[in-house]
Symmetry: C2
Subunit: 465 residues, 2 copies
């Protein structure tokens, strides 16, 4: 019988089991064809839950170490260990396994798009044609803000899709939003105080801190942040996502928008409007941007293709008000563009030839379906009657409120044992004590329908005593 | 007869002529087939030099507006002005023309590689195979430092090419050196004082200034900067290019290297070793890096593929000492990698399959040939006896010392009129008054042999009274 000693360190139980069995298979302790104990026997023998064993076995099966034979059980697969396999130290192996296991987690808080939908065929076609037909263009150093053709395509996309009247020469393309934040801090000067939403996107304070600029948390009410909050914090910049706040899903109503725009015209102040997933609004028309509403030209608009195409394509952009664009040209145009021309031209054609719109429409339908599947699975699961959904009709996630007395940490800990990473709303609060409990983020963007039931069962299990 | 009024603004004369004639052709003032005045007549009539007219005519010919018929003269080409040609305002037209003209300058101080040599066929082949065979890899978010395969390829390249013993996990890949400088300032903390070489790379102080960190100019002697200079300036970081200083070409000798390494081990200090064009050393073996010499692990090594492949491919990297790498993992690994996986995997294979080495060897031979061609053209030109070459056997440029009483500014101004951009050594000094005069940078990397003679003649002309 397989007996293993589990440690209390940060590895989830299922991952420890997975590693133990995998190691035993690789070093020959478990022989090809050997039968593994049933899930129930293994679980009882080791004093753990069946669901944990199931997760470990599933992982081993999916990686080909173990075969499941219906009505017979689980067997070690016939694995040929490569002769020249590198010697790996115990430490390196452990680290590698940890990383692998983390990768194999079902991550309910991840906000990447579903990348199985990436339009490889079209992308390859456009790249190929550029590589053979546009060599001189590809070799020409573009201005800091990016190649003209891409900026034109973006301006036209923003016009038709967001109703925005944008001059291509106000657009700055860069290698990811984080990089653009860096440019903004250089552009606005280091003396500014950045107001960021609380709760909000967790990376933001880390970025501002790392860049050595001052930032303050501004508490949200049910309409978003308020000028009052900004004033109290002494903020000069309001860094917000008014069209779809992360993670609450709040859309800032027009009254509040006008208040914030009134605040911003009061001096050397700016709004950074992060419109990161406006493409995926499920129902109705997208909300007009604050950039469009802003007569005084104090709104910096930002968006990214890492969200709408793939997180591994690093292309984001910002639209600067004219006065900032002038300053940008004067002070920052010595920088090289950070995105390769190969990808800039490919993306430009991808947009201008209509592929981007098609892709967005396809993804929107897909996300809508995933969302419905997730909601209906929840309704039919053991969790029925023990939860509420906080509605919002855009983006790639919703908030699930669980009716339980268990702490958020307890629930997260149990789910982690089963290979599920989840985040509570409190994780996005600067001051967790102020956060409402029992809200969890369910990102359905890359959720395979086949595992939704498993997740629902685990969620139901996690609130049991 | 064509009579034009030239303005004193920043446009060079040849460009003004080019624009006047082009505009007259486009709006029909000059008809297809019409004969233009000879260069000499045009020059005398307008009170300018023949060489200036020649430059303007050459440009018009190369763009197809004008045809040169041997022994007959210059004729307006048969141009069909597109019916739907966009209305452009006078201002936009002027700006566009300025930009176009700047692009058409012969730029002797540009340091881009010769991009006609970019290996499009191999690159396209590798990209295509990745796009069809490695889709899951392309969609997987890489760690901040870049995809493992690329870091492995770089480590192995540094081993065989630079004799460096580098762990792939000490490498951070990023979208250009400028971006990596930003990461370094975040990593080392904002309280550090950066010592930069004087003379040196002109972008560096702009970058540090823009990032809001302190920097000091450290005067070079014939061996480079010294610990004494660093101490006097109160510098914590020595940002240097010891293997091939830009623009002087100095290689820091081993005695001075040891002194700087002794200085750097004295406290919380670091050397940033910028090895930007070590691949192109023309003769002999590359100098060993300070990173390799450094027992105390205080050297950050940097290099870029923008120089060795194409300036439009934004991939650079740095190798961090272990203690900095640990800090990087702890404090900065929340950042997303700034280079798209598509290009990271393509470059990884480009290196690991030996294409990069082949490309470098090919470029090195090409640059060696360009250098010889430039030196021999100078020797045969009217400039013979009126110049000296400051030798150095690496990189893509040399320094030309002109025997003249004219000021550097006068010479640059004259050359600019003929469509040639050149920089004097003094341009790279913080305090120009301290700079030795009459040294000019000749970058031969992208110099077509066909125009070398023209350049030599212009140089000879420029020092005439």
């Amino acid at each position: 019988m397989l007996t293993y000693v589990f440690s209390d360190d940060r590895d989830p139980l299922y991952e420890q089991i997975y590693n133990f069995i995998k190691t035993d298979i690789m070093n020959g302790t478990l022989k090809p064809g050997e039968k593994l104990p049933s899930k129930r026997t293994f679980a009882e023998h080791n004093g753990i839950s069946t669901i944990t064993v199931q997760s470990a076995y599933d992982q081993l099966i999916s990686e080909g170490y173990v075969q499941s034979v219906p009505r017979k059980g689980y067997f070690v697969a016939d694995i040929v260990v490569p002769h020249g396999m590198r010697h790996v130290t115990e430490k390196a192996r452990k680290e590698k396994n940890e990383a692998d296991a983390e990768e194999n987690f079902i991550n309910l808080s991840d906000s990447s798009p579903d990348e199985t939908f990436f339009p490889f065929t079209v992308w390859a076609k456009l790249l190929r044609s550029n590589l053979s037909m546009r060599q001189p263009d590809l070799m020409k150093t573009p201005p800091t803000g990016g190649v003209e053709e891409l900026r034109e395509a973006i301006a036209s996309h923003l016009g038709s899709f967001r109703g925005m009247d944008v001059d291509k020469d106000s657009i700055v393309v860069g290698a990811g939003t984080e990089y653009l934040y860096g440019l903004i801090t250089q552009l606005l000067g280091r003396g500014m105080v950045y107001g960021i939403e609380n709760p909000g996107y967790m990376k933001l304070p880390r970025i501002y801190k790392s860049m050595g600029v001052s930032y303050r948390y501004i508490d949200m009410d049910e309409m978003g942040i308020s000028p009052d909050g900004l004033d109290k914090a002494g903020a000069d910049i309001a860094h917000i996502s008014p069209n779809h706040h992360f993670p609450t899903g709040i859309t800032m109503p027009v009254t509040r928008r006008l208040e914030v725009l009134d605040w911003v015209t009061g001096g050397n102040r700016y709004v950074i409007e992060d419109d990161y997933d406006s493409e995926f609004r499920a129902n109705g028309k997208p909300v007009p941007t604050m950039y469009s509403m802003d007569a005084g030209q104090n709104v910096i608009y930002m968006n990214t293709f890492s969200r709408s195409l793939s997180s591994t394509i690093r292309i984001s952009y910002m639209v600067l008000p004219e006065k900032l664009m002038e300053r940008f040209r004067k002070e920052l145009s010595f920088y090289s563009s950070t995105v390769s021309t190969f990808e800039q031209y490919t993306l430009a054609e991808f947009i201008s030839r209509g592929y981007f719109e098609k892709h967005i429409n396809r993804m929107r339908l897909h996300y809508l379906r995933s969302r419905k599947a997730a909601l209906s699975a929840l309704a039919k699961s053991d969790l029925a009657g023990k939860y509420r959904i906080k509605e919002n009709d855009t983006g790639l996630h919703f908030l699930l409120e669980l009716k339980t007395k268990k702490s958020d940490e307890d629930i997260k800990e149990r789910l982690k044992e089963w290979g599920i990473k989840i985040r509570s709303l409190s994780d996005y609060y600067h001051d967790k004590a102020k956060a409402p409990g029992h809200f969890f983020l369910i990102n359905y963007s890359a959720l395979k329908e086949s595992i939704i039931d498993k997740i629902c069962n685990c969620l139901a299990e996690s609130i049991k005593d």
